[in-house]
Structure formats: structure tokens, C-alpha cells
């Protein structure tokens, strides 16, 4: 699937700022984040804990608890409309229909006292002009689409009768029930075992093929990114630091954090004697470093003043490749991974 960069984006997050009040003062979890996703494409949003990747998605869905949360700035344009100005009732109509979501923990996302089938059908009844019988029929069909065996029988069962992988598939079925144009999947396979993960990837692929929905895939797993994404947004310390297509990101990253992250991963079929970690730890949002949040851990900064004093802006360093590093040009020829 190639990024369909023609035409207007389906979703455009523009300079979004999301803050939380805490005992230690106001914390800016998302700091002027911008990204776009076009119809049918899979955009991976990558980052470690505290990078703001999930808070951005929750902001898009209008699910930031207020208080203590607050959207302090920016726009979230979905099909041209700013979701931040849409009345709550209308937002509820969009959420679950045009935009749906899949969360990490399949156990807490399902109601334990209702059958799985009822919950999928309910998602359709809440939004659609569908009769109960039709919704039930389509729910069974959806379960079959995402690879649940004996779908008709499974329809009648309760969540506790489903294994973790089956529950996650039921949630995927629910997420695509109303043929959404955008699915936001937050760490959809993190809680699952490797062989079950592979099953859920397949279910996600089938679901996307069935609906042609665009997908925002929030993850920390670079393997998953390489397997599923068309384009990638890398976040660090509440900001976007790099964005480009998936191949360029892996082969010619232009931000020191992305490069450090890729270099630190152990690889199954490369047995280097020693890993190359990023020194230090991800920043605390309460006490974010000045200038570029990555500078205390950056091998490239080497104490240079702009890294400590100026927040680097996102710049298009090559066509369709943006990096927020003052010295992105110095990273140009470092394509060691391609040659390796």
C-alpha cells in the first residue's frame, strides 16, 4: 500500500497542545504535535512511555478527562471539521462510527456481563439504521472476518470465555462494525503472546482490507512498525521529532533519537557482540530539558548551545522527510544500516 498523499488528509492534527494539572504543576503531555493521515493509509506513531503518543490519540477521540486534562491549543481536523469545536453529542456520533478505536487491554474494553456478540451488535445499533436481526447477522460475519472460528457459537459467549487473542479479535470486529474511515489502535498486540500477536496482525490486515479504513497504529515495537506501517511519526518528550515513509525511516533516519532507537535493538539474525544503547532515560514531563528534549542523551549534540537553548522546529530535510533536529543535515550520509 502506498501513501495516498494526493488530496486532502483524512485527519490533520495541527499544533495540538494537551496539558494535565498535577501536584507538581501543569504538565504539557502533548506539545504542539502535528501529523496527518490520508485515507486508507497506516500511520505508525512510535514512542516510549511519556512520549505523548497515546495522549495525542485520546485527544483526537475527545477522551481526555477534564479536569485534570485540558486541550490548550491547536486543531484536530477530521474530514475538514475541527473536532475540538464539535458539540459533545455530535462527537459521540463520530466516535465509534467514523472513527473507532482498539485499546491495548482487551479484558477491560469489553463488558463482562454482556455477550460478545451483543456488544458488537450494540455498536451498530447505537450508530446505524440497522435492525436488531440484521446487526446480529453482521456481527457474526464480522467475527468470521477477523478469524474467530465457530463465529455463530462464539457470538453467544461472554468475554471470559474468550482467550486474550480472541478478545482482541472481537474488539477489532467491533471497531470495524460501522465501516469507520479511521481506526486508532493503541498498542493492539502488546498484551499478547508472540504467536497470538501474529494472529491479531492478520485480523488487523483483514479488517483493513475489508473496510479500506485508515489506521493510526500507536506502538513502541519497531518490528510491528516495519511490518504494518506506510508512514511513521516518531515522538519524544511530547513532541514529534521525525516523520517520513517507513523505508526511509528505517534506512536513513535523520533524527538522532530515531537512529539511537534503531541502533539499540537486539536483532534475531544479527549477532553483534554488544548493543549500542541510548544513554540516560526518557525525560520526565514535569522537568523537561530545555531546548531539544533529547539533548542530554544525544550523541550528536555534544554540548552545542542551540540544542540546549532552542526548541528545534520540524523541517523538511528531504522531500517528504521531516526532522526536528538542528543538525539533521549532519546525519545525511549515515546509512550504515543499508550497507550492513
Amino acid at each position: 500500500m502506498t501513501p495516498a498523499n494526493q488530496g486532502p488528509p483524512l485527519l490533520s492534527v495541527e499544533r495540538l497542545i494537551t496539558e494535565f494539572r498535577s501536584a507538581e504543576g501543569t504538565v504539557r503531555a502533548v506539545d504542539e504535535v502535528s501529523y496527518q493521515i490520508w485515507p486508507g493509509e497506516t500511520l505508525a506513531v512510535v514512542g516510549e512511555s511519556g512520549s505523548g503518543k497515546s495522549v495525542t490519540a485520546m485527544s483526537v477521540l475527545g477522551l481526555i478527562p477534564r479536569p485534570p486534562g485540558r486541550i490548550a491549543g491547536g486543531r484536530i481536523l477530521f474530514e475538514g471539521r475541527d473536532l475540538l469545536t464539535v458539540p459533545p453529542a455530535e462527537m459521540r456520533a463520530i466516535r465509534g462510527k467514523a472513527i473507532s478505536m482498539i485499546f491495548q487491554d482487551p479484558m477491560t474494553s469489553l463488558n463482562p456481563v454482556l455477550t460478545v456478540g451483543f456488544q458488537i451488535a450494540e455498536a451498530m445499533l447505537a450508530h446505524g439504521d440497522m435492525g436488531r436481526a440484521e446487526a446480529a447477522e453482521r456481527a457474526v460475519e464480522l467475527l468470521r472476518t477477523v478469524g474467530v472460528p465457530n463465529a455463530a457459537e462464539r457470538y453467544q459467549q461472554f468475554p471470559h470465555q474468550f482467550s486474550g487473542g480472541m478478545r482482541q479479535r472481537a474488539l477489532i470486529a467491533m471497531a470495524i462494525a460501522n465501516r469507520p474511515r479511521l481506526v486508532i489502535a493503541d498498542e493492539p498486540t502488546t498484551a499478547l503472546d508472540v504467536t497470538i500477536q501474529a494472529q491479531v496482525f492478520e485480523a488487523l490486515r483483514l479488517a483493513q482490507a475489508e473496510t479500506q479504513a485508515a489506521m493510526v497504529l500507536i506502538t513502541h515495537d519497531m518490528g510491528l512498525v516495519a511490518e504494518l506501517a506506510d508512514r511513521v511519526v516518531v515522538m519524544y518528550g511530547g513532541r514529534v521529532v521525525e516523520t517520513t515513509d517507513v523505508r526511509t525511516l528505517f534506512h536513513a533516519p535523520r533524527h538522532p533519537y530515531t537512529r539511537g532507537l534503531l541502533a539499540s535493538l537486539p536483532r534475531m539474525h544479527e549477532r553483534s557482540e554488544r548493543l549500542t544503547p541510548i544513554p540516560g532515560a526518557p525525560p520526565s514531563l514535569v522537568n523537561r530539558p530545555s531546548g531539544c528534549a533529547f539533548h542530554p542523551r544525544c550523541a550528536h549534540s555534544a554540548g552545542r548551545l542551540p540544542c540546549r537553548t532552542e526548541v528545534p522546529a520540524m523541517r523538511e530535510v528531504e522531500p517528504a522527510h521531516w526532522s526536528a533536529c538542528h543538525y539533521a543535515e549532519e546525519l545525511q550520509d549515515s546509512r550504515e544500516r543499508v550497507e550492513a
Partner: protein
């Protein structure tokens, strides 16, 4: 780093069995570990891999004496592990220590780092002055500043907390560390720091590691030998190269093929085996080979006889499969 000596292994496990809930009798017993045998040499790293519920952590907990095995024998450093005898276990723990997955839950939040690290030293009878010096030495060893000894665990990041857990385990100069998912709770950029630390410590101190993990990339990096578990049994055991380059058991092959590879150029070009269904319940394991319900090679014999873990003519590693062999035909 393979210790090439012919001497007795440091740790030898013979036919270890652990069933839960046997005595009540009303519900079927959970057969967490169903007869596994392993040997670990001094200075070696043995990986124990498998998915949740396969019994890998139960095995670790039986070895260190946190669980009482239902059957089998464990010999550590020439002496049988005496489960249920507190004094004997305490003596053994000088030489064998456990590092837990969660560095948030495994450190007492009310104790300073100094108190956490000095406790084992004090209990072993070390004098106060000596203890001071040893705690400072331990902190330096794991890359922490000794002047931070008066801080509490919450003042450290996840990676630093795991370093404290490792330092505590090293306090009494053990010969074996059981590392139970030691990096899986850490951020990706921090995992490499802790893996490098573990490798450095092994070089410096000659430690043996039993490395329990589900992340195969990490295991392939750090382990000399690897045992793959499925539903309470070892299905394949061999060197890193044997397991990763020439796996012979269908489960190992499926497990390796399921790991996402972080190279977008390989997308769609790799053979991926997507296993059908879920692992069976350890309360009611299938007859014969436990993997047969998800295996594309299964035949009648697989339901009748438990395959023995033994070397095969075509491979040097031990494989428990009636149809062991390299992955050639596409699974159905």
C-alpha cells in the same frame, strides 16, 4: 562464552514436575511443569523461552525454592535443593539469586537503596564498616552513583531500579542468577543498557544466568543455549545457532516466524506461520504431544505418544517431535 569444561554442571534439573491444586482434588490439577530436565554450566547463559503459561517462570521459582516441586530433583553446585528446609535454602541463596521482572514491585518503597543493598550483607554477618564499602562497590558495579545510596526507589527511573535489583542479587557474590524477564518492563531505549550491563557483569564475575524471557530478539542476543518450552515441557533445546538458524520443532519454527522483523524491505517476503487457535489449558493438556492441536504436521502417533526430547539424526540439538525436521513444506 561457552564453558568448555567436562566438569559437573552448576545446575542440574531432573524430571521436574510442578502441579498446582492437586490436594483439593475437585478441580483437575494445573500441570504447570510436566517433567523437564536441564543442565546449566558455570559461566553459561541458558535461555528459557515460551509463551505465557508454558511454565518457564514456575521452573525458575522451583529452582530457587520459592515453589515446592511435585516431583523431580534439582541439584545446584553439587547439592540437592532441599525445598521446605528454610535453613538449607537460605544457605543456597548465597550462591543463587533471582531478579524479578518488575523493578517497581520488587523493591521495598520504604527502604533506601543503601538499606536494600546492605540487608543481605548484614544478614550474612558482615561488619558495618565493610558493608559501607561493599554497597558502594555494588552500586558502582551496576552503574549507579554510590552517593545516591540514601535515595528511595521512587527517585530512580525504571532502568535504574532494575540496576538496584541486579545489585541486590549480586551482593553475596552468587554463582547463578535467575533472571525472570529482566528487561521486558523497561522502555526500549533502556533495555540495551541493562542487557549490556548483564553481559559485562558475566564477564567480570563469571556468573551463570538462567534467562527467562518471551522476547526472542533479546534471547538470541544474550544466550549461549536456549530451551523452548510449550505447555510445561521442553520441546527443543540447543545452542543459539541450532535454535535460531536450524530449528527442528514445528513450535520453535512457528514462534520464530511470528516475531516481527524490523526491516520494512522484508515485509511479505518472509514465510510466516500463523498458528491456528490458542495454547490448550494446562489443566487439561492434550494426550501425546501437547502441541499437536495447533501443529500442521500432526498425525495419529502425535495423539498417542509423548515424543521424547532427544537428538535427531539430522540435527545436533534435542527435539521432542515425532516429525522433527527443517522447515521445508509450507504448513497447510
Amino acid at each position: 562464552m561457552t564453558a568448555g569444561t567436562r566438569a559437573e554442571p552448576l545446575l542440574k534439573i531432573d524430571n521436574l514436575v510442578k502441579h498446582y491444586g492437586v490436594r483439593g482434588g475437585r478441580k483437575p490439577a494445573i500441570q504447570a511443569v510436566n517433567g523437564i530436565s536441564l543442565a546449566l554450566r558455570a559461566g553459561e547463559t541458558l535461555g528459557l523461552v515460551g509463551e505465557s503459561g508454558c511454565g518457564k517462570s514456575t521452573t525458575g521459582r522451583c529452582i530457587i525454592g520459592l515453589e515446592q516441586p511435585t516431583g523431580g530433583q534439582i541439584v545446584f553446585d553439587g547439592k540437592p535443593v532441599e525445598h521446605g528446609r528454610r535453613a538449607a535454602l537460605t544457605a543456597m541463596w548465597r550462591d543463587m539469586q533471582y531478579v524479578f521482572q518488575d523493578p517497581f514491585a520488587s523493591l521495598n518503597p520504604l527502604m533506601t537503596v543503601f538499606a536494600i543493598l546492605s540487608e543481605p550483607l548484614r544478614l550474612s554477618g558482615m561488619k558495618a564498616a565493610e558493608t559501607q564499602a561493599r554497597v558502594a562497590e555494588l552500586m558502582r558495579l551496576v552503574g549507579l552513583a554510590p552517593e545516591h545510596g540514601n535515595r528511595f526507589p521512587h527517585e530512580f527511573s525504571g532502568g535504574q531500579r532494575q540496576r538496584i535489583g541486579i545489585a541486590r542479587a549480586l551482593a553475596l557474590n552468587p554463582k547463578l542468577l535467575i533472571l525472570d524477564e529482566p528487561v521486558s518492563a523497561l522502555d526500549v531505549s533502556i533495555q540495551a543498557q541493562v542487557i549490556n550491563l548483564l553481559e559485562d557483569l558475566q564477564d567480570q564475575l563469571g556468573l551463570a544466568y538462567l534467562f527467562i524471557a518471551h522476547d526472542l530478539s533479546v534471547v538470541s542476543h544474550i544466550c549461549d543455549r536456549i530451551a523452548v518450552m510449550y505447555l510445561g515441557r521442553i520441546v527443543e533445546v540447543g545452542t543459539r545457532e541450532e535454535i535460531f538458524d536450524r530449528p527442528q520443532h514445528p513450535y520453535t519454527q512457528a514462534l520464530l516466524s511470528a516475531v516481527p522483523i524490523d526491516d520494512p524491505d522484508l515485509r511479505g517476503r518472509r514465510k510466516r506461520i500463523v498458528l491456528q487457535g490458542d495454547p490448550p489449558s494446562p489443566a487439561n493438556p492434550p494426550s501425546g504431544c501437547a502441541f499437536r492441536t495447533r501443529c500442521w504436521k500432526a498425525t495419529d502417533i502425535c495423539a498417542q505418544a509423548v515424543p521424547a526430547l532427544e537428538p535427531k539424526p539430522q540435527a545436533r540439538q534435542a527435539v521432542a517431535c515425532h516429525h522433527a525436521g527443517a522447515l521445508t513444506a509450507e504448513p497447510a
